[in-house]
């Protein structure tokens, strides 16, 4: 089993170099082959080939191959950078940086490293070392204060997924195929034609198919597996809700507050306040508002309008809505701040020209203001999503504790519940690796899709 992976790496190495290098030679193919094998061998050596052991499942083997492929690819990418340097093939941006760097080289190559070392040491100790430890922990069954820990291979990961290795490969391939297919269709069809519009619809559908593929890959529970599918759904609903409400609300408020109003500076400052509040306090505030016993909202609805508001914690939709509302409200001030700054960069002359041309307020907003704000929107999309993924724990813990029956338990809440409250460090670490991959994936995707459409003004 292991040999198949290594042979595969040995074959892929030269192929990769052949595709990416300007100059090719037998020597380079040999080096690439060796480097790919070395890269692929790192993970089986580190983990004792557990993915190919007799009792390992097909999914375990899949993980093992996946890690080998990842290791080989990283090694090849590093090698390619060396080849490119040897070929003198340096990209424009790096060439510029190189010119600036030459000043440092006059004093010896080690001077920049020496100057960087305080930062590097801090990064190593407080960022990279814990990150590496998280990966190690994620392959173990371990607890704080335990006399020993047990290596469990990939089981902390495989138990949140379905147990069919073929489907686990097939679903992501189908989704990626759909995305690339839709992109191909969009490029080939003429803008304005019916085919182009249909391609637009297909792109959206392809994007959704990624969510569906992930949904199908997570285990619904039962048979010793962990029911991670509901947590995935909660995370998608709540994160998308927070980002959508927080950004649309933020832009709307900022657009209104941007006008010349008497005392505008003070007013705009006050709008930013919710951002200064911690997620825990936001949770307590909204708990106080909607609590069925002591809540202000329920009291007012009941005594003024005679409406009996149900306990939000007993209904999935209400509970998720309450979490989204509280979290979006908290991030609103941050979004307003950035949109207010962004609105100042919208070119006034263009708007004036549009007014003369008879464009309506809505047209001016969608055709001029929104595109001008796109860098800010893109930046906020990334930060808001990070917030929705990582910082909602306290809000949820105060408002619902995951109620009703886990319907508001999102990925980060589950990580802390399992890893910290129940002391199951291995599972907690594995789930945070999953969340880490999710954030990296979503951010890369945003860079590829929205990044290309972002206008930074200028040329």
């Amino acid at each position: 089993m292991l040999i198949i992976g290594l042979v595969g790496a040995a074959l892929v190495g030269p192929l990769y170099t052949w595709r990416n290098s300007d100059t090719v030679s037998v020597r380079r193919f040999g080096i690439a082959s060796a480097v790919a094998v070395a890269g692929a061998a790192v993970s089986p050596i580190a983990m004792g080939q557990c993915g190919f052991a007799a009792e390992a499942t097909g999914v375990d083997a899949l993980f093992a191959y996946g890690l080998m492929a990842g290791g080989a690819l990283l090694a090849l990418m590093a090698l390619q950078a060396l080849f490119d340097r040897a070929d003198g093939k340096v990209k424009e941006s790096t060439a510029m940086a190189g010119e600036i760097r030459t000043g440092g080289y006059r004093m010896g190559w080690w001077v920049p490293w020496l100057l960087l070392s305080p930062t590097l040491i801090i990064l190593l100790v407080f960022l990279y070392r814990p990150a590496v430890e998280t990966f190690t922990l994620s392959t173990q069954l371990t607890r704080l204060g335990a006399p020993k820990s047990v290596d469990v291979c990939f089981s902390n990961f495989t138990e949140v997924l379905i147990d069919n290795p073929f489907k686990l490969v097939l679903y992501p391939l189908l989704a990626i195929g759909a995305v690339y297919g839709a992109r191909f269709w969009t490029r080939r069809s003429l803008p304005g034609s019916a085919s182009h519009r249909a391609a637009g619809v297909a792109s959206v559908a392809a994007m959704l198919s990624v969510f569906v593929a992930l949904y199908a890959m997570f285990s619904p529970g039962g048979g010793g597996q962990i029911a991670y599918r509901p947590i995935y759904i909660n995370t998608v609903i709540i994160s998308v809700g927070i980002v959508a409400l927080g950004m649309i609300g933020g832009l709307a408020v900022a657009y209104l507050a941007f006008r010349d109003i008497r005392g505008g500076t003070l007013y705009r400052t006050l709008l930013i306040w919710p951002y200064a509040i911690s997620p825990a306090v936001a949770g307590v505030l909204f708990f106080m508002i909607f609590d069925p016993t002591a809540g202000v909202f329920t009291h007012v609805m009941d005594s003024w309008f005679g409406i009996d508001v149900p306990n939000y914690r007993e209904h999935a939709v209400l509970a998720q809505g309450a979490i989204i509302l509280a979290s979006a409200w908290k991030i609103l001030g941050y979004n307003i701040l950035f949109y207010l700054a962004g609105l100042q960069t919208v070119p006034i002359d263009q708007i004036e020209a549009a007014v003369i041309d008879g464009a309506s307020a809505w047209q001016r907003f969608t055709k001029i203001v929104l595109p001008a704000l796109s860098p800010i929107t893109f930046f906020l999309l990334v930060t808001n999503l990070t917030y929705a993924f990582f910082e909602v724990y306290a809000t949820i813990d105060f408002m619902t504790k995951g109620a009703p029956a886990g319907k508001t338990s999102v990925a980060i809440y589950e990580i802390i519940r399992v890893g910290v409250n129940n002391g199951d460090l291995g599972r907690g670490a594995a789930q945070s690796v999953l969340l880490f991959i999710a954030v990296i994936g979503v951010t890369l995707w945003q860079f590829r899709t929205s990044g290309s459409r972002v206008s930074y003004g200028g040329a």
Partner: protein, 467 residues
């Protein structure tokens, strides 16, 4: 050239500063007088006491006693630090042991007794030391009388593992029911309900009133109440006599007692009698509902007896936790926390910690603690003192918890379980119950699923800690 040297000096000093910051704590750790060696005469010995309370009343009590002890024994300085929860204090203690600066005493809860006994530091040695062993038969330490022999039997039996007290009992309570007698009497119920059937009858009467409250009864969805009911019905939660004759390797979440209790709970909820606040472990919400007269009855910890006496505007009467009338009553168990002493202190420091713990629960302090909160007086001497003062005639509700514990038989079922990963198993139980209450699921099916999860959790724990 000059510039270059200047730059180098700057860089080197930066690195020195960065490394210096790192190495400082290490030097302090290695400093003498901290761990193995005895302090020089005349020097004040610091003992850290980590308390898992953060409210003013209970944390304040601990701080006041520490201050009194420091005045009485100027050679010691007990330093109280507050933690948000038992788990926070425990995790911090394990990490502090590994980094070489452990506290002297930490406050840790009953359900994690197994976990505390099992905990080892990075060197593989147990973190805590048995207080019985450390006291070694002395009847007083530094002039403070040892109170361990006087500890009330319910707490003694719960915390005695392998024939010895590992930790020093402090806050100990049991579940009692608080009754709004004004409301019950208005509905024609003159005595607090004693059994499940009585509760249903009372609820039917209350909910039939013209000005009926929004619900009849509530209690937090906390596994402790489930464990109490199992004790009442004489059912074990874990094998090996609830983990008391050996290590428990199996839990029973599908027992008859469990299905009876959860089934009764669901029936109350289905009939609109039980009010679920929608949160697990919701002590505040349930307590508020009772105080706001939204329910007539509240099953709760006796730890808040004084609070309810002082904060209710109606006739508030405490009674035993209602039991299942179809099976013989065996007994309720305790809950709460004890003080664990860390291993590795020198004799003088350890004696200071022991003296403080015995001072902390001396009759006067134990009685004051009981009066402040409602936790049971932890020693018989404290009970006698309170009796002499006429406290129980003055506040009869405060006696209910002690009476209920005294009525219990001393069996493994009513002692409560010692389980590994008990916190995780409790979590499995409360999530299952929430699922049943909110989503109207079949009790037996859902508890079977919970049973599978809990047993997996326990067997993983035993894989790490067991033999």
């Amino acid at each position: 050239m000059k510039y270059r040297i200047l730059l180098l000096v700057a860089a080197v000093s930066l690195i020195a500063a960065a490394c210096g910051g790192d190495s400082d704590p290490t030097t302090t750790t290695a400093a003498p007088g901290d761990g193995g060696t005895s302090a020089a005469p005349g020097e004040v010995i610091d003992i850290d006491f980590w308390v898992a309370f953060s409210d003013e009343a209970r944390l304040g009590f601990a701080e006041d006693r520490a201050a009194e002890f420091n005045t009485k024994h100027p050679e010691y300085n007990i330093e109280v630090t507050s933690f948000a929860s038992y788990n926070d204090a425990f995790d911090a203690a394990v990490l502090a042991v590994d980094s070489g600066e452990p506290p002297g005493i930490i406050h840790f809860f009953e359900a994690a007794t197994r976990q505390a006994l099992d905990a080892v530091g990075a060197d593989g040695n147990p973190i805590f030391k048995s207080v019985t062993e450390a006291i070694a038969g002395r009847s007083e330490i530094l002039g403070e009388p040892v109170v361990l022999d006087s500890v009330v039997s319910a707490a003694r039996d719960y915390y005695t593992v392998d024939g010895s007290f590992y930790s020093m009992p402090w806050n100990t309570s049991t579940t009692v029911m608080f009754n709004n007698m004004d409301m019950l009497k208005a509905a024609g119920v003159n005595e607090p309900p004693e059994t499940w059937g009585d509760v249903e009858d009372a609820c039917e009467a209350i909910m039939g009133m013209a000005d009926a409250p929004s619900g009849c009864i509530t209690w937090p969805n906390h596994s402790w109440f489930v464990e109490q009911s199992l004790g009442q019905q004489g059912e074990l939660l874990g094998n090996a006599d609830n983990g008391r004759s050996g290590r428990a390797t199996e839990v029973y979440l599908e027992s008859d007692g469990m299905l009876n209790y959860v089934g009764w709970w669901k029936e109350l909820a289905d009939n609109g009698y039980y009010t679920y606040t929608g949160l697990q472990r919701d002590w505040d919400g349930t307590s508020n509902a009772y105080i706001a007269e939204e329910v007539a009855m509240l099953i709760y910890s006796s730890s808040d007896t004084t609070f309810f006496d002082e904060n209710t505007t109606f006739d508030n009467q405490a009674s035993f936790m209602p039991r299942n009338e179809d099976v013989a009553y065996v007994g309720n168990l305790i809950g709460g926390a004890t003080l664990w002493m860390l291993d590795g202190m020198d004799t003088a420091t350890q004696d200071g910690a022991l003296a403080f713990m015995n001072f902390f629960s001396n009759p006067a302090n134990a009685a004051a603690w009981h009066q402040l909160t409602g936790y049971v007086p932890i020693t018989q001497d404290a009970v006698d003192l309170l009796q002499g003062e006429g406290w129980y005639d003055e506040s009869p509700n405060s006696k209910v918890a002690s009476d209920q514990l005294a009525a219990a038989e001393n069996t493994p079922a009513s002692l409560g379980a010692l389980l590994g990963n008990f916190v995780g198993i409790r979590d499995v139980i409360t999530i299952a119950i929430e699922d049943i209450l909110v989503n109207d699921l079949d009790v037996a099916t859902r508890m079977a699923q919970a049973n599978e999860e809990a047993n997996k959790s326990l067997s993983e724990y035993e894989q790490l800690y067991g033999g």
